[in-house]
Amino acid sequence: MAVQGIWSGTISFSLVAIPVRLVKAIEPGRISFRLLHSKDYSPLARRMFCPEEETMVPRDEIIRGYEIVPNQYVLMTDEELESVSPERSRTIEIVDFIDMKEVDPVYYDHPYYLVPSKGGEKAYRLLVEVMRRTNKAGLAKFVLAEREYLVAVTSRDGALALTTLHYSEEILADEDLSPKKGKTAAEEQNRMKKSIERMIENFDPGKYADKRRKKLTDLLATKAKEKAPVEAPVVEQEEGAGPADLVAALEESMRKVKPR
């Protein structure tokens, strides 16, 4: 089963164009809860709701609005949004190849993966492999819904990872926080270095399970023993239901404009 895409389009460098889909790289983790209806234990879904008509609103009746004065909106259709930067709404064009070591981690925002769409497998594999060999990352800009993102595309374990980056104007200055000019005692520094050197290990994130998760797992195990788990009623999958949440709504509206 193919992974569900958030966006689809092409990634390009020079004259090479690769059809791809953007998919998530991060998930909530092992212990995450669902909201249930206390009455029938059915899972709850997030829907867009019209407070005046008191009804759920299907996605084809939803439009984005920008509030210019209180309660007065400028409406924007998906097509209009895509017209803001038409050259970037379906294309991730790599303009430079950079060394990721030069990127201050303060720029990192959120990681995703790119996966090849049909016909793009070979060129995708090539980009993964040459970026690995040259140890370079592609820098590009692209537009998703109402935002334009600066992104770094890197080679990770045989896949293309895409990390959104902050714009430099979003990075706060840190000069006013730095220590006042004070001399550091060489002795102090050497003592610290020795202490650090004794503690050098390899990076292994797997061993840092969330402490709270352990307590939660214990709690869940105890509860499951005390009382049988409740069962949710079976719900048949409805077609054309409203978007699950705001992000999903954005993704949905982007997906409506499918590539040829």
Partner: protein
């Protein structure tokens, strides 16, 4: 100007204690849209609905469940959940140090600037730690509890400052293996020309070069619409995918173009 202090703690390892204040490092400003009902422009809100009854469910009728198997849940009440919250503490405990290059960037989450807390004698310990981390090219892997949550992070030095980068837990990062990527054979020639092309397109990272022009264009479009002007609908540019059997020729043409 840096953001306000959001939390205070003390970095601890061995017999070292460095009191610090956390500051946010990023401030995002975005054009905010609302979702409206198309026909009457009523602003919509999110509502939790029961998937079975298809009815809105008020907060007092919502409970939290953990799915033990398909469709089966263990219900946990809020008081029980509170008991699992970590004890509050002011200690940022460093468990080990790793070479900075070993940290896979996909784990990096939110970054905070650390300011020396005045309790520290003019920031002497702070500066000594900055220098020690830089000379050894290491980051401290640490854990701390902040606002009822346990965090896992990397303590790093940059220029004269310490920073704390929260890390994602290993079970939150989706492995590449689950993407089901195909292995496609490539010729050595394709790889060689591809690598040359990348080297030709290499440039230093200059983030200042990339402004958010889109935001300004979007703002202009909103203003135009507000004045009642018509918006030209432009079709998104779509590139024709490079055919697999033409990859080599396209790479060669690209290299010629870049030269």
């Amino acid at each position: 100007m840096a953001g306000a202090t959001i939390w205070k703690g003390s970095i601890h390892f061995g017999d070292t204690d460095v009191p610090v204040k956390l500051h946010t490092a990023v401030k995002e400003e975005r054009i905010q849209f609302h979702f409206l009902h198309r026909r009457d422009q009523v602003r919509l809100r999110q509502q939790m609905i029961c998937a079975y009854e298809k009815e809105p469910v008020p907060a007092e009728q919502q409970s939290k469940g953990f799915e033990v198997e398909d469709g089966k849940y263990v219900i946990v009440d809020p008081a029980e959940l509170d008991q699992t919250a970590p004890e509050s503490s002011r200690m940022i405990e460093v468990h080990e140090f790793v070479k900075t290059g070993q940290i896979d960037p996909i784990f990096l989450d939110r970054l905070y600037y650390l300011e020396p807390d005045m309790q520290d004698n003019q920031g002497k310990e702070y500066s000594a730690l900055v220098k020690a981390l830089k000379e050894l090219d290491v980051a401290g892997i640490c854990t701390w509890n902040m606002r009822k949550r346990s965090y896992f992070g990397a303590l790093q030095a940059r220029e004269k400052m310490l920073r704390l980068n929260t890390l994602r837990y290993a079970d939150q990062v989706i492995a590449v293996g689950s993407l089901d990527l195909q292995d496609v054979p490539l010729s050595e020639k394709e790889l060689k020309i591809g690598s040359e092309l990348i080297e030709k397109m290499a440039a230093p990272f200059e983030p200042g070069k990339f402004g958010n022009e889109h935001q300004k264009k979007l703002q202009e479009m909103i203003e135009k619409k507000a004045r009642g002007e018509k918006i030209a609908i432009l079709v998104p540019r779509r590139l024709k995918p490079t055919e697999s059997d033409q990859l080599l020729q396209v790479l060669e043409a690209s290299l010629k173009k870049a030269a």
